[in-house]
Structures are given as structure tokens and as C-alpha cells.
Symmetry: C2
């Protein structure tokens, strides 16, 4: 894409009311636009990042047998009454509104009850189970405060998956399979090494749920990990979990972390409350086992920005960067840069081309650092005199000259 | 995809409160699930159709220079006050809610004002124009009644595009370009021949807007067209438009039609009300020219179902069918069908494979008709004795036997 045609522009300052580093950088670079506190729109650059994160999750969920659907934002009161969660005193993040005839409707903050209710219309017998469905969906949550940028929005995108089973054993087996699928997701996002499966508070059915927590200074949680990082426990269940696991609490050290996923076994708790049963092989009615699995798509984007950004701007892992290459044409004559741009496109490389005229080299360099593509390629009079293009990784301090004839092969080798 | 693994099932009856044919068929076939009146979720089959419609629109909008973004559902009161459209007496389809501090928020029924407000933060000078942005977005509209299935929902998906210009001439030129892009979309959806660019009511800036209307018995509009179908006028502006165009009203005949798109020139009306200006080449402040372009994605899906369905079920045009081929394995031994399924997948054909055991042939045939894939391929003992697979188009009464060795080539020739 030619940067001269991109309608977004970089800006020197973030909005004065924006306190989160992730949102400050994303707004300054033109990835996001702040509508109000906790509510962000995504521009072409930002949308590309979100779609890449979604596609990684989609591939892993499909591999794990998930079937993609899309639920609705508008929800019925009756859907949530069985579990008592329509009540604002129980769930304090509802946005609610009314139809013309005064019927109350809810705006989806979660789809747990909604999905279970829908699945009931398709699942009658044990032959229809197991089933696993997921969606990418906007969630609306009426948070009292929204100061973490896109890491905790009032409106955000989540991948939520639900698996339904006839037995606890089948649910447990699938749950473990999804733990592996989630690990692959975080690895592919580029945050695998600092993301831990963590013991977190459970519910009526299980003592613990599991969170995926990424070590991150901007996180809202505190994680206790041991030296070799083989055990991680959320502060909220530290006593219980260490007791259960027989671990000496004193060997665990606290680090700040951000929740990037949460998986939960409801067992038969929800289906019993909602009256959702299947017919087993003997003809008896039995409640369905349910587990749920969430990844915050926009939150992952925010955590990646927080974790990797340096004082110059964003640093994207290649897997979720909007473009692999940021090509900078410097000087008046951009004929060589134009040719390289076309060659890169023809070779299937995702490239953002700074073809702007009348913009100083220093500004182009600063923008490239702020925007954070993995590889920067500069074509200038000086680089050509030195023998070709200057190629530099975003986090490297020095570039190298690559002859134009080798450039495509060099880029393809890198990515 | 193997039908035995698809969690949705066909059903003999639609919900008793569902009066629209499109929703009745989509629910019976397992494409959609009704959450409440005018609010539908989409299952794996339905989502595939929606994504195909979206991809066609995306390609045409990108070709026309549009840049994809995604706005938000939550909107501020202040965004809509400048044009007076926050007022429920002016816009009677708002869903509204409140933040914890009692600040009112709106749920997006449109993004016209919201996009213009966002664009203001990027567009300062004539050098930043023209710009064209679009999104696929859920709209929430508090309709008094919702009886048209997915053709008029309280929650639906729309592609809305907005173009911004320095002059009326530039806006007019782009507007005509988008008319062509829209025509291509409807052609690609398979409804090009029965879809007309229609004069419809305008606003403060232009006497007329344009609607794209598809002839359809289930439509809510009445279109007046002449014999060779070169002129089409919405009933609501019949007198004005015929007068303007110098057309004898008596040569126009009424037909029922459904609106599948609407494009509108706001000119400088909205930007003046909202105070959105650019700096021209002489340094003067001038209001931005705006036009908007909408296609109802879910509505197109509904119209296609209404138009083409027969008494057996849905008939998808190949371009938006969830799968090109519905492969039916009949009898106990499905080894040959299994092989054909794998061959089709290897050849890159999108295929739904009815591999269900213990389901009678008659039920499989009925399901294939209800689901509506363009091509049905049957592998049975009888078809193999006759020389291969029985291949039949959805709207044909008779199939033909194609030897298994020719099957892939035959299917690839058809699609």
C-alpha cells in the first residue's frame, strides 16, 4: 500500500485524556481512533493487525474441531434469568436498552448463556455430542473506569469458544486439547515465551479455572512464578493453589502480568440451571457438560504493543504486523523505489511504501519507527551509491546494504 | 466439510412466530438461528454465505479505492447533536443506554456522523482529500415491528462507505464510479438482471438519492419500471422523478421490490452542521463534500433466498453458496464416496459431504434440496452400476451419470 494514499496520519501527541501506553502509541501511529474512554475504532492499519490475530486463532480453533458461528449483540432477558445473571447486582457490566414496547434487551457482555440456549435447539441426543463452536464477537461491557486503552475496553473483540460434552472425561480431554491450541496461538502471536497457563479462581464446578497470563508491566494482575517458570499462580488463588499443589509459597516470585485468555469448566452447573439436557444411550435425560474458552483479540493487540514497544514506537512481531516491510523512498527521484515496490508486491511481500513527496527523510524514519513494521528498506541516493537498498530490522540499530538484485531473495529469507 | 460433524440439523418446521419465507427457510436449513424478532445468529453454513457476500463487496470497494476500517457500536451523544439526530423524535430507531456515571450512549444505527467526526481528525487540508473509507458493521435499529426475517432486522450487517471530497464535481465523479462498483456487486451476487438503480427521495442537498432495488415479491417497496426496464423509479418520488425526467408516467408499471443498496449525496450539508472543514489551496476554510454508500449484507442474503427459493428449499447462486457441491453418499458402503470427497477437496472444490449413516436416501435428497448447493453429486450402488456418480444442478429435474474418472474435470468445468 502506498502511504501517500493512506488516509491516516501519524501525530506527535496522543489525546490528552489517554493514559495507557498501548492506546497512546496506536493512536499516534494511526492504528486506532478513540471514540470515547474504552471505545476505539480501528483504521486500515489497525484492522490488518486484528485480522491477522483473528486468522491465527481461527486456524487453531478449526484444527481443534471448532465450528465458527456468529451470535448477536442483542440478547433476551429470559436467556440470562435461569442462571441469575440478568440481575445488575450479579453482573455489574450490563448495557441494557428497551424495545419500543418496553421489553428490556441486553447488549452482549458475554455469550455463555446465549450459546448454550442456541445449542439446545440442535442437540437432542448423545449422538449430537461433542460439539464445539466459536465466534469472533464484539462484547460491550459497562466498565466503571476504562483507563487501560485497548487492554480493557467498554467495547472490544473476543474469540469465545464453547464445547459441549456428554461426560466429564470427554470435557476434560477437550479442555486439555484447547490448552495446547491456545499455547500455539500465543506462540504464533510472538508472546509464547512470556505467556503462562495460570491457576485462577474457579466456580461451583471446579476449584480453579485457567488463565493465560503474559508478563507485562502494564498488566492488571500479579502472577507468582517459580524460578524455572514451570509454575504460575494468580495472586487471587495463591494460598489455595500452593496448598493444593504442595508448593512452597516462598519459592514463587511476583511479576505483573496481563490476562490474554481464560478457560473455564462449567461442568453441568449452567445446563442444570438452564434446564439443558440430552438423551443418553439408555434414553435418560442428562445435563450437558460445558466448558468455555476466551481470547481477547483486541487485548492481545494491546499487550503486544505494551510488551515490545520502545521509546521510538511500536515493534510488531512479524506474524501480526500489518505489513512485513516498510519501504521508504527518499529524495526527489523515487523511480528506483517505485520499481522495488512493484517487485516486492509481485513477489507477494506485504509492503507499506512511503512514497510521500515533500516529507523530510527524518520524518519518514521517525514514522517508520513509530509504525513498527519488522523490516525497513530505504532507497535513497546515498543507499544506491553504497550499492543498493539499506535494510534494517526494527529493533536493530544498524542496517546493511543489499544489492537491488538480491533484495527480494533477502526479504523472503527474512520472513 | 462432513455433514455428520456439522452441529446444525435441518428441521421440518420453522418457529411458529416466524412469518418471513427467507427466515423460515434459513432456520429450517440451519443457516440462521432466531434469537428474537428481527435478531438472528448465523451458524457455520450461514456465516459462509455472509462472508462470501462480504468478500465480493470488499473486492469491489477496494478496487474503487476504498480503505477498510471498523467503527464502534457505542456512540457519543455529542457526535449526533450537530445534525439534530440524537433526538428520538428525529431518529426513531435508536437503542440507547447509559454509562455508570449516567452519561447517555447510543448503539450505532448508522455511522454517518461518527465517520465524519473521525475523519476530521485525519483531514486538515485539500491535500488529504479525496478519501474513501468503508466498514462491515453490525447496525442496531429499534424497529417497531420486525416481520421480514433477515431482510429488515433489529440487528443486521451493513457495508457502509463514505467518500469525502473538496468539490461537488469530484464527489459526483466518485459517486458514479461507485454506482458501477455496486452494479458489479449485484451481478456477482447473481441478482444483477433484476436489480435497478432507482430514483428515491433525496435530502437537503439533492432532490434524489439512488436506491438499488431488486424485483422481489417479498420486497417492501414498489418500483415503477418501463417495458425495456431502462427506467426505474421508487413509488415515493414517482411524480417528481417522472416530471424531472420528462417521462410519461403511464408507461411505467409497478412491481414489488426490495432495497438492497442506497447511495446518497450529502454534499456539504452534514459537514456544515457538524463544523467539519478543510483548508483549501488558498488557505481558506471550506466544508467537506460527503457522499455515503450502503449495502445491506444480511439483507442481500435474505433477498437471494426469497427470489430463488422453490417449494423444495433454498437455491444459492454459485458465487455466494456456502459450498459449490453437495456430495451425498448413499447406502452402507461409503468407501467410494469417501474417495470422491477427498478427490474434490484435493482439487480445491468446496464440498459439503453428507456422510451420515443411518439416514435414508430420501431424507438426504430432501436435505440437499433444502440446503440449496448449486451441484448435487450422488454416489450410490445404483449410480456406480450406471457408470459413476449422478450429477444434478439444484434447479434441474434430471441428473446425469458422470464416470468417476471424469468427475473432477466435470465439476471444475461447471463452476
Amino acid at each position: 500500500m502506498r502511504q501517500s494514499q493512506l488516509f491516516t496520519k501519524t501525530r506527535k501527541e496522543a489525546p490528552s485524556d489517554e493514559v495507557a501506553k498501548n492506546a497512546q502509541l496506536l493512536i499516534r501511529a494511526g492504528y486506532a481512533y478513540k471514540v470515547m474512554a474504552g471505545v476505539y475504532a480501528y483504521t486500515p492499519l489497525g484492522l490488518r493487525v486484528l485480522e491477522k490475530i483473528k486468522q491465527i486463532v481461527r486456524e487453531e480453533m478449526n484444527t481443534a474441531g471448532g465450528q465458527e458461528i456468529v451470535m448477536t449483540s442483542l440478547q433476551k432477558k429470559s436467556t440470562w434469568e435461569g442462571t441469575g445473571r440478568w440481575d445488575d447486582a450479579v453482573v455489574d457490566v450490563w448495557f441494557k436498552s428497551k424495545l419500543k414496547d418496553d421489553t428490556e434487551v441486553g447488549l452482549a457482555w458475554s455469550h455463555e448463556e446465549a450459546i448454550l440456549e442456541m445449542m439446545q435447539s440442535f442437540i437432542k441426543s448423545y449422538k449430537d455430542l461433542p460439539a464445539s463452536v466459536y465466534q469472533f464477537q464484539t462484547k460491550l461491557r459497562n466498565e466503571l473506569r476504562a483507563k487501560s486503552g485497548i487492554m480493557r475496553g467498554r467495547e472490544f473483540v473476543m474469540k469465545d469458544m464453547y464445547s459441549l460434552h456428554t461426560t466429564k472425561e470427554d470435557m476434560d480431554m477437550y479442555y486439555d486439547k484447547i490448552i495446547d491450541a491456545y499455547k500455539k496461538c500465543y506462540e504464533r502471536f510472538g508472546i509464547g515465551e512470556s505467556t503462562f497457563v495460570t491457576f485462577a479462581s474457579g466456580g461451583a464446578f471446579t476449584k480453579f479455572s485457567h488463565e493465560f497470563q503474559t508478563i507485562c508491566d502494564a498488566g492488571e494482575d500479579v502472577l507468582y512464578v517459580n524460578e524455572d517458570q514451570s509454575v504460575a499462580v494468580n495472586e487471587e488463588v495463591l494460598d489455595d493453589a500452593t496448598h493444593e499443589l504442595g508448593i512452597d509459597k516462598t519459592v514463587l516470585k511476583p511479576v505483573k502480568s496481563a490476562e490474554v485468555g481464560n478457560i473455564f469448566k462449567f461442568g453441568t452447573e449452567k445446563s442444570e440451571k438452564m434446564g439443558i439436557y440430552f438423551t443418553d444411550s439408555e434414553g435418560a435425560q442428562r445435563p450437558i457438560y460445558l466448558a468455555s474458552y476466551g481470547i481477547g483479540i483486541t487485548r492481545v493487540m494491546g499487550v503486544v504493543v505494551e510488551k515490545f514497544a520502545d521509546d521510538k514506537g511500536i515493534v510488531w512481531p512479524a506474524s501480526i504486523a500489518p505489513f512485513q516491510v516498510h519501504l521508504l523512498g527518499l529524495g526527489e527521484d523515487m523511480a528506483d523505489a517505485d520499481r522495488v515496490y512493484q517487485d516486492l508486491i509481485d513477489a507477494g511481500v506485504e509492503v507499506l511504501y512511503d512514497d510521500r513527496t515533500g516529507v523530510m527523510a527524518g520524518e519518514k524514519f521517525a514514522d517508520a519507527d513509530l509504525l513498527g513494521m519488522p523490516t525497513r528498506i530505504v532507497i535513497s541516493k546515498r543507499s544506491l551509491e553504497n550499492g543498493g537498498a539499506e535494510v534494517k530490522g526494527r529493533t536493530r540499530s544498524e542496517g546493511e546494504i543489499v544489492p537491488l538484485t538480491n533484495l527480494i531473495a533477502h526479504v523472503q529469507k527474512t520472513h
